[in-house]
């Protein structure tokens, strides 16, 4: 187990490193983005100010030197912005718990709802509750979460004022206020995923229902409820867990961006979205690297948890 965790974390570090190189390439070598031009005063700059900027920021240094310096700056949070900005690392770390609340809440909602409804489907497989839930899940799955977020915010929060239309309260200060601020974002982000999960979990459970050990359990005289709880659920949940892991880690750079923007939740997503609005490339790259670190770390953690739950994963996989 420890070996697996170590190997998985090493892979995460490698991926993060590759991501940083990708970001560096984007940062300094995209055609037509000349840092000297922007750092030297943009449109108002002259050749002289540009030469000064080249000197000051070492833009003539070899690329590996520039890479190391950029990464140092990004990790310190002191990026040379084209227009100027505050310390990004502080801002990011302050916003991170907000996004973690949003993502974990949405994940719990979608997984809980998905598994619960899928279990109802399996218990009544082929009959009307199954068909009803499956159809509803397919419809909800087709609801783009950006549309759901926009509609919930515009009507429920802003127009009718049922829930606050912006802001955030930390969990430790006021748990009730925390939930009140996040309930709509949770629904907006989690509901479409719940629809997808119902379908995935149902399919996976149904394929487990006809396994030999399930038949044996039934033959022993176990109640159907107990059979599903003890035997179907345990094996049937393994494939969906991998999907949840991917979705969970991607959420930090996925729906967090627009859901937080729409609901005015001050997390890393709206921080990033605000920065995009300024068209200031260096802080955007820095924030993207922070987000990528969170994503890579989250997916490593999920994989380790999965391996802890399912011993088969721990063994090195045969090449597929």
């Amino acid at each position: 187990m420890i070996v697996f965790a170590a190997r998985r974390l090493a892979a995460a570090v490698l991926t993060a490193w590759a991501a940083s190189i990708l970001a560096f390439i984007l940062f300094w070598t995209v055609p037509n983005v000349d840092p000297a031009f922007w750092l030297g005063g943009g449109q108002k700059g002259t050749n002289q100010t540009r030469a000064l900027a080249t000197e000051k920021y070492g833009l003539d240094d070899p690329l590996p030197v520039q890479y190391v310096r950029l990464m140092e700056n990004i990790l310190n949070g002191k990026v040379d912005c084209f227009y100027g900005c505050a310390n990004l690392r502080e801002a990011f770390l302050q916003a991170l718990p907000v996004t973690v609340s949003l993502v974990v809440g949405a994940a719990l909602l979608s997984i809980g709802l998905g598994v619960w409804l899928a279990l109802i489907c399996v218990r009544h497989r082929g009959r009307w509750p199954d068909r009803l839930i499956t159809a509803a899940a397919a419809a909800v799955y087709s609801l783009p979460s950006i549309v759901l977020a926009a509609l919930l915010w515009a009507f429920v929060a802003q127009k009718w004022g049922v829930f606050p239309d912006e802001g955030y309260v930390p969990l430790r200060e006021d748990p009730f206020g925390w939930a009140r601020h996040l309930l709509l974002p949770w629904i907006a982000a989690g509901l479409p995923f719940a629809g997808a999960y119902v379908l995935v979990v149902r399919a996976s459970l149904l394929s487990a229902v006809n396994e030999d050990w399930v038949r044996t359990a039934r033959a022993k005289g176990m109640s159907e409820r107990r059979v599903i709880r003890r035997h179907v659920l345990r094996t049937g949940l393994i494939p969906p867990v991998n999907i949840w892991g991917l979705d969970f880690s991607h959420a930090f750079g996925g729906f967090a961006l627009y859901v937080e923007t729409i609901f005015g939740v001050p997390g890393v997503g709206s921080l990033t979205a605000d920065t995009i609005g300024t068209f200031d490339l260096p802080p955007i790259v820095a924030l993207a690297i922070y987000l990528a670190l969170v994503v890579v770390l989250a997916s490593a953690l999920v994989d380790i948890v999965v391996a802890w739950l399912d011993p088969r994963v721990r063994r090195p996989r045969a090449s597929t």
Partner: protein, 315 residues
């Protein structure tokens, strides 16, 4: 194909898809012949006739017309007095075109890479697969935002290719690139399995070149997968375009896209809820239809789920 025809749900969704496609294609016709305006024309001070009465397009309190259900301003006007129906048709057209272009680009890049990785294996496979792993570990939206901001800053000039900063080609390129691993990963797995089969070995033994084996032996077996993947990927590409445009990193206003329309209508529900409802419902319908078609194709071509193409969600 026969199985598809017997599937009533799939038929309904295919018909819906045809209607949507026709409507989007007819956008210029609708604009010039029915609504007599364009997607960009402002009508701030104009008047129009509704139910025989002459009314301001944008009222004196600067609140625009709601849906009139008539040929002009069928779905109302926006705060610049532009015809919302025309903007919707053009916007949806842009979103779907960008999505389709991106899917095409993903196929163009993903298929050769998957063939090379799966068929040659060895070092080629390692390099390509690792590259995909890195791309895969980035959320699509984040990668899209990053690429698109970098490219749109001043436009792109690579040799003879010159793309302005507001061009549609940038979101197409960005989204297409982001989804390459989503195509190449399942394809590579299939190629790996196919190359061990007897008919591939026979072709190789008969002296066929690698390229010929890929084209005439492997590709026909992959076409089913591609057909199932295309609409799934299109849904994701359109959703990504909407999210990018919404965040200001895709299509730039005033050019309409479903994303910019939703962004525009978001804060105006107090007086003009139609500006948010219209693009939202349109996007919902497009996604529902494409999902329905995708599911129908999957049921017809991959009834046992053997291809392992579940739900791809790549936002």
């Amino acid at each position: 194909m026969r199985r598809l025809r017997r599937d009533r749900a799939a038929l309904v969704f295919s018909a819906m898809l045809a209607v949507i496609a026709l409507a989007l294609l007819a956008a210029p016709f609708y604009a010039s012949e029915i609504a007599h305006t364009t997607a960009a024309d402002n009508h701030l001070t104009d008047t129009t006739v509704v139910d025989g009465k002459r009314v301001n397009v944008v009222g004196l309190d600067s609140i625009p017309l709601g849906p009139t259900w008539q040929s002009n301003y069928f779905l109302g006007a926006d705060y610049n007095g532009r015809d919302e129906m025309v903007r919707l048709l053009y916007g949806a057209r842009t979103s779907v075109l960008v999505g389709a272009g991106a899917v095409f680009l993903s196929f163009l890049l993903g298929i050769p890479l998957a063939l090379a990785a799966g068929y040659r294996r060895g070092r080629t496979d390692t390099v390509i697969s690792r590259l995909f792993d890195v791309l895969w570990s980035f959320p699509a939206l984040l990668l899209g935002v990053l690429l698109s901001t970098a490219l749109s800053l001043q436009g792109v000039d690579i040799g003879p290719v010159s793309v302005g900063s507001g061009s549609r080609l940038i979101p197409i390129f960005v989204i297409g690139l982001v989804y390459v691993p989503y195509i190449a990963r399942p394809l590579r797995g299939q190629v790996l399995a196919l190359r061990e089969q007897a008919f591939v070995e026979a072709a190789r033994a008969s002296g066929m070149s690698t390229r010929a084996v890929m084209r005439s032996e492997l590709m026909p077996h992959l076409s089913g997968t591609l057909l199932v993947l295309a609409p799934i990927l299109l849904v994701n590409a359109v959703s990504l375009e909407v999210a990018l445009s919404f965040l200001g990193a895709g299509i730039n206003p005033p050019e309409p896209s479903l994303g910019t329309l939703i962004e525009d209508g978001l804060t105006k529900t107090d007086n003009s809820p139609h500006l948010l409802l219209v693009p939202s419902i349109a996007l919902g319908l497009i996604v529902l239809t494409l999902n329905g078609v995708a599911e129908g194709l999957r049921r017809a071509l991959d009834p046992h789920g053997a291809l392992g193409l579940g739900l791809v969600r790549g936002e």
